[in-house]
Structure formats: structure tokens, C-alpha cells
Amino acid sequence: MTPIHFSPSSLKEGRWYEYLIRFALGGAATALTGLISSRFGALVGGLFLAFPAIFCASATLIEKHEIRRKHGAGLAGTRRGQEAAAVDSAGAALGALGMLAFAVAFWLTVEVSAPGAFVAGSLAWLVVSVAAWYVRRKIRSARGGRWQRHQSRVY
């Protein structure tokens, strides 16, 4: 199983305008959520706290970087780009579980302590997301091991 690690060289793949687009989209999403809350109330505004506004840009950038990398090796890279974006999307599905944990922890603690609510929520997000990711990896590794043993028996 690939260990978790940092790959700072990935930052070189990004262009300056891509970072600007992400900043602008993130800022716009936050401002828009505030506008929706003020026009339609806390409930509808709260829904949009989990709106995937930035995900569109992130997934597109990931696909683009993979294609660019493959072009460098003389390949089309379209399929590889789609796969990379799909893997990121699967990770985001697990992250959504973490976001649910954040919302629950925040809701339970905010009326007791506001700073505590942010700490509790952030920790809940991190713990649940990482745990979900880890469990999924283990399941996939176990399935991969069973498939390899099946192949060695059949062939």
C-alpha cells in the first residue's frame, strides 16, 4: 500500500492562473453562500456549505495535469486524465463523510463553545475522512489479494 507522503514537485505542474482561478472560485463560493443565507435563510444557506463549487475546477485541473504529463511522454493521456480525476472524486466521496462528521460535531458543540465547535468539527472531519480512506484501501487491497490468488489457481 502506497504510504501517505508529500510530493512538492507537483506544484511545478500548476500554472499561476490556475491558482488564481481556484482562489477566485473559492472566494466566490464563500461569498455566494453568504448571499444565499441572507436571501433564503439559514437552512438553505447551510445546504450550500457543502456545495461542490471548487470540485469542478479541481477535477478539471487534475485531468489537465495528467494529460500534460502524458503529452510530455508522447502519449494522448485522455484516459489517464479521466482516471486521475475519478480517483480524486472517489476521495471526495470519502471526504464528504468527513464533512458530515464536521457538521454533526459543530452542531453538537456550537452552543457550548464557539471556538470548541471549530476544533471539534475540524478534528471530526480529519479523523472520519482518514479512517474512511484507510478502511476503503484495506478492502481494496484484500480484494486485490483474493483476485491474485484466484488467478494463480485458475492459470
Binding site: 461569498a31 453562500t33 466521496a93 456550537v110
Partner: protein
């Protein structure tokens, strides 16, 4: 005639001037709030997104695509401008949004792999899924629909 003279001589004018000043201040406060939302929200989203860029494996990095960056800023401002009750209400609705986000991400993943769509159309089309699931969950939970 100076504005101070006007105010002394005409109560109606005074009332109108005060109302305009108050409206201008309210507008300025609102604009300041939105600028703060934009700058802080943009910064937080960029930080989490950059973390996602440099972390490996990619499936782990994808967790940061669902980081509650917008929520952190919005709930912080909600606590500052409203009450903890208001922020609690928003976080309750956020649970429905998170459920919709999970459904959205799964649909995007399938559109990319099975339907072989490119990332941009896959993510845009799937927004319909998010909207339907989010408002559906909110309605099921007895929200204002």
C-alpha cells in the same frame, strides 16, 4: 445653505438624511462582509486545494477536495453576525449537503470511468444530482420546502 443649517430648520430633511446615512452604512458593512468572505474563503480553499495537490496517493489527496473550507468561513461569520442558534441551523442543513456531496462524487467518478466523459462536463452535469439530493434530503428532514 449648509447641511447643518438644513438639519436645524427641517426635521423631515433631517430624518431623510439620517435614513440615507444609515442605508449607506448598512451597505458598506454588507460589502465589507462580502469582501472578507471572498478573501478569507479564497485563501482557505487555496490552502486545502494546494495540500491536495502535493499529497499522495491521489485518493488521499482527494479528501481535501471535500474539506469544509467554505463552511469554516461561513460559520465563523454566522457566529459573528448572528447567534450560535443560527450557526447550528446552518450546520444541520450542511449534513444534507454533505450527503448530496457524497452522491455527487460517486456519480462524477462513474461518469468519468464508465461513460468516459471528460472532467468538466462530468462535474457540471452531476451538479443536478447534488441539487436534487440536497433539497430532497432537506425536505425529508422537514426543511422549508
Amino acid at each position: 445653505m449648509s447641511s447643518s443649517t438644513l438639519i436645524r430648520r427641517c426635521p423631515a430633511q433631517k430624518s431623510s438624511l439620517l435614513k440615507r446615512r444609515s442605508a449607506r452604512e448598512t451597505w458598506q458593512n454588507e460589502m465589507t462582509e462580502y469582501v472578507v468572505r471572498f478573501l478569507v474563503g479564497g485563501a482557505l480553499v487555496s490552502i486545502f486545494a494546494t495540500l491536495g495537490d502535493i499529497l499522495r496517493p491521489k485518493s488521499f489527496a482527494g479528501l481535501f477536495g471535500a474539506a469544509p473550507s467554505v463552511a469554516l468561513v461561513t460559520l465563523g461569520i454566522a457566529l459573528y453576525t448572528h447567534t450560535p442558534d443560527y450557526a447550528a441551523l446552518q450546520s444541520q442543513a450542511m449534513m444534507a449537503g454533505a450527503g448530496a456531496l457524497a452522491a455527487y462524487s460517486i456519480v462524477v467518478s462513474n461518469l468519468l470511468i464508465r461513460a468516459r466523459l471528460r472532467a468538466f462536463p462530468a462535474t457540471m452535469i452531476s451538479l443536478v444530482v447534488w441539487l436534487v439530493v440536497a433539497f430532497g434530503l432537506l425536505a425529508l428532514a422537514g426543511g422549508p420546502l
